[in-house]
Symmetry: C5
Subunit: 333 residues, 5 copies
């Protein structure tokens, strides 16, 4: 799932039918477009979406409305499914975990499917779709991908697989936190909890609109979609829902950890307070006794006693020790 930021655009073409497959890396879009129509299906993958020129060129070539093109260029766009007479447009997010900082990064991913071609656009160069490329290269599995609807399904399914892995990874981090939260809550445990919660919210915002997209794709009446693909689209929808549920269950878990963390912290503070209160309670009657013998009554017989001061100390030991034993016996500390 590694990615490198790249200045230049990378255009990869896979053009194939049942018998033959042509793979090429093109330097210009025109070169890539030239492949379309030669084989039964042509998949053009454009990595590095910075250049608006490219998107306009694509728009012109495939007769895409300006509105859609603008959505493609807006890298913050909400996942979207749209269909025209013989085209399907999908916008979604590719997720990846940054290899160093371990945080989740998202890439805008756009798709145009039409008769005999599939165009995919990615913000950055990535290896997300390598399993799909493998699949196309092998004869037995290639056959199905000749239909653009199935190829689009394969890409989306690959994307959702990727989500599942990321969710699983986050899930493991959540589970690791468990021991810490329950037994040794530290000050920065809450920050780690919060970081995970934020990442999950981020994932959630990507995965939840996908439900609508997979549903719309599944229910589509587009001429592009073969009856035989319905079942796969149904599986895709199930897959999206399952990943949403997995995420939800981890979100509940992190939420619970938050509550547990708060309870642990509060119990820890309570424990300290209790000990201090016991400590204070031991001294309170002693201070009272000292106060008594600091009074200025003319007649306080104890003050005249020869061993008055020793008597006082014995009293202190007796009262203090008695309370100490009493508190201990009641298992207060």
């Amino acid at each position: 799932m590694g990615q490198q930021k790249q200045e230049k655009v990378r255009i990869r073409v896979m053009s194939f039918d049942n018998n033959d497959i042509v793979e090429a890396e093109c330097s210009t879009l025109q070169e890539a477009f030239a492949h379309i129509g030669k084989k039964e299906i042509t998949w053009i993958n454009v990595d590095g979406l910075h250049d608006p020129e490219i998107i306009w060129d694509i728009g012109k070539r495939f007769n895409v409305s300006e509105l859609i093109l603008e959505d493609f260029m807006n890298t913050d766009h909400r996942p979207l499914y749209h269909e025209e007479e013989d085209q399907i447009f999908i916008i979604a997010k590719l997720m990846s975990v940054h290899q160093e900082h371990k945080n989740i990064e998202s890439d805008q991913f756009s798709l145009i499917a039409g008769p005999g071609y599939l165009l995919t656009l990615q913000e950055r160069v990535g290896t997300h779709f390598d399993p799909v490329r493998q699949r196309i290269r092998k004869t037995p599995t290639r056959e199905l991908t000749i239909n653009p609807d199935y190829l689009a399904y394969t890409l989306l399914d690959c994307m959702v697989d990727n989500y599942m892995e990321i969710i699983a990874e986050i899930g493991e981090q959540v589970e690791k936190l468990d021991a810490e939260v329950i037994n040794h809550p530290r000050k920065d445990t809450i920050n780690e909890i919060y970081r995970l919660r934020t990442e999950m919210n981020f994932l959630r915002k990507t995965i939840f609109p996908l439900k609508e997209i997979s549903f719309a794709f599944l229910k589509s009446k587009s001429v592009l979609i073969h009856e035989s693909s319905r079942e796969f689209l149904n599986d895709l929808h199930d897959h999206v829902i399952v990943s949403g549920e997995a995420l939800d269950s981890y979100m509940l878990m992190i939420m619970d950890q938050m509550h547990l963390y708060n309870a642990s912290i509060s119990n820890k503070a309570n424990e300290i307070m209790k000990t201090l209160t016991i400590f204070a309670a031991l001294f309170i009657p002693l201070t009272f006794i000292a106060g008594i013998y600091g009074m200025n009554f003319e007649v306080i017989p104890e003050l005249k006693w020869k061993y008055g001061y020793i008597f006082f100390w014995l009293l202190v030991v007796f009262v203090g020790g008695g309370l100490f034993i009493y508190f201990r016996k009641r298992k207060w500390f």
Copy 2:
């Protein structure tokens, strides 16, 4: 989604069939009614519902019972679905976020669908249905909207889309609160939480009865509803349910934030109390010592010592410092 309060009523007519479309802005209802029947379908949209006269005129023209008309005029009416022999009546709420105050405003929206016409009434002038107008203007998508049931579906779907956007917007505000609640809860954080919760309750009261409406619409046996529309009505119902679920998940989230806020506030207070209790605990034995040497026993040897007072201070430093180090070691502060 902007809206302007407007004194005058605005009447817009779209009358169309597969070949042709007529758009007009009329000054009187009669003018608008004149369009009905000329094309296959006529959509009359009346913005600004204040004038009961208009509603009575509509009632007369379309043979609507008084009961329904009264529901139309009651701008607080609960969402409603009702059907007569060849008419369908729907009352729902249009939502919009006020551009300045950022709070949610709702507009009563009423709909009468009959053979060859669709009448919509709105409390205020709004742009909610502009996407539908766009759709009608374009040939390929116009075709479907020629049936009043499908047109009604389109309007309701557009309304639910709008709900989704508002829910998403509120959701983002909820997510933004997260960091504040967990790390730096402030006194007015609770007010913000409460504001969001109130707005969600408001949305909830609009969206939940809609489930029944979309269900009734879906299950309707009215002659107005074409078999081909069932599927769309089913999608509408799904859409309503999805938006309800999205709202519910944000409501759970804000609820959780409330609990977290309370826990954070409570932990913060506990932390302060703990520190103060430690502070007090340091002084308690010292005060006891001072109390001892304030006693009036005839024989307290230390009082006669030359360096008695210095001895006292050394004792204070020793006891106070000892406790301080002990508390520190146990990581109590």
Copy 3:
């Protein structure tokens, strides 16, 4: 939904077919029974169930087993669905909000459906079923109600509609409590919460067994039930389930309010404790200082100073003020 307690029994008869309708108020059951068979269907509604005689008369006339009659007389009976060869027996509760005390009252409602007749028994005289009477009086909607199964469905549906209204009303009271609970929890807020919770529990106990009843009605193989009614019975079942869900969601809400109330009260008490502890913490070192200069060491140089007492007060101001500023700076109060 108003009701008056009434000593006498009120017997209302509606006897009708597609062409004609006869409405009568009878003074005796025999008079009412005489209507049966004259039209296609006869609906006898007996309000005021106190008199066991009436129930025995009904039992004799319709050949009802003693067991069922006893269930009818037990006004605390759990909702019930029972069917015999050509009869259906239903026991349920009618709900109403008392106009003055605003609390929910329930009325036992029993129903016997047989070929060509429908008998309903109510504990008290009520207006619950007036919408059904309206429906029967109007020609187009009367047609359906000629079958006793559909008429029974209509009455139950009307009853569930009524539940929904009551749930909505309680829901509004719950929502109104929200602001109070979060911002200004008062001692009697908890009583109001408890009152609502109790009323919801009461509703819940009525609505939940209804699920089984509507399900049994739906699945019934009785000869009384026309195939065309299945769909309506299905809708009734959905309706019952929806009202149960609505109630559940308000119950969760009130539960949450209870937790929030407890948290608010606890935070409020904590806040006060914190302030008092700060107050105490300010005095603790001052009392220690006073204790020092109350000691009786022979040599305490400060005691001999000319401005010793003033020095003491300066010390008090310095230490007390210093702590005050320190606590303020750390935002402890």
Copy 4:
């Protein structure tokens, strides 16, 4: 649902077809087995399972494997569904509320259904199945029970009905606790809550595996099961699920009461602490003042004042009273 412990085994036989019914109480199993085959179906009910001999005899007569027989004898056995070529074996629990101690008791209940016979074994003599016996005795309902699959269904359904009643009874106890928990939590309230929770857990462990059993029964391909029974088995499964849901909802309720109880107890303790802290806070400055005038500075002018002591008391009243009024004003107590 009462039961008596009984030393001796009680064997009851019902043997019947559409025309005729024979009921007998046998002293030996052989006597009972003799009825099998004489009528279309024979139901042998053995109460009092202590004697392993009886079970071995049954095993021999019906060709039951040792494994199953051992399961039958293990009165702690988990509910089980098993089928052989032409036999069905079911183990479940009969529940009853002890009439005096009000706690729930369970009885192992085992069932063997085969062509033309149904054998039921119960740990103790009970009246659980009297409604089924009634049903068999009456002609119209007897007809169905002639098939062993339907008779088995009837017994299980009767058992689940019984569960529902017990759940309802516990539910009522839970609801009664509500007022106590919220308004007047007592020390032993928690014990009552715990008792109910334990009983629910006990019920839960019985009802939850039943889901699998009713599902296996429903899905069975056994030759014993008539197609016409499917629907009833489906209803049985629904019934089991509904009772599970009812129990779950009460378990949630008792859980909530536990949390509320804890919150109430904690708030009560907080309230007391708050009052005590206010009390202490009133004395703290007064003790400081007394400390000041206990100091031994050579020059403390107030000490020489004629009305110094009275001045002190005025100061005490002024400071103490001032704080008292201030605390009151801020509504701290």
Copy 5:
């Protein structure tokens, strides 16, 4: 479910058709492979997966891709379902409770199903599949297992049964903790709770991906899967889901216990603090009184009284006793 760690690999073969069955324990894989094809189906079970050689041999014999072989060797592999033209590959975990330490242990379990053979690989020698072996040995149940898809189903179902037992066992431990948590929470109760929670998380990670596997198996279009097996695969999927739900319900329960534990601990600490605060509150006014008579005002009449000291003690008893009675009366302790 006992297991012994074993150095050597154990290879067991069952080769059978409707008439005949051959069981053998082989010392080499080649010996085992020789059985394939002699009967209708051959099940080779390899226990002890340490030796990569064995896996490579298997790979060569059955034409398995290196990728799959690597997954087989990675004993931490996530559960997986994969199918090739005429082979099905499944990776899952066998669970067992260690007989001494009572903790859950997992074993990697891999399966290759192809036409006429089924190969299973286990990390350690176990008795998990003995029930399946029994089933094969008996004629009537053997018939079905002749198809590799059904045999694979039987093994997986056996595995899930095993999960259910382990979940039930953990569930019982959770229920036993209940009494302790509510009535007598001890310091190490939290550790026991945490241990159970960790084990459940471990189970959860095994069972949840299984849902996808059973679903993929059910939906598979592989030529290996007979139409008659669909139903069983559906039951398997249901079984997996039911076990997931059972686990979830226990996880909710342990979570609740955690919250209850925290609440109990907190209430216990509060109770102690309350008692100590009452204790302190009794002494506070007494210390004030002692402070008064320690003042050095020239005129404090009480100091000169003959019975001044006795008066002081009477005052102490009166004030202290009065407070004590007052606190008791308000039921503060």
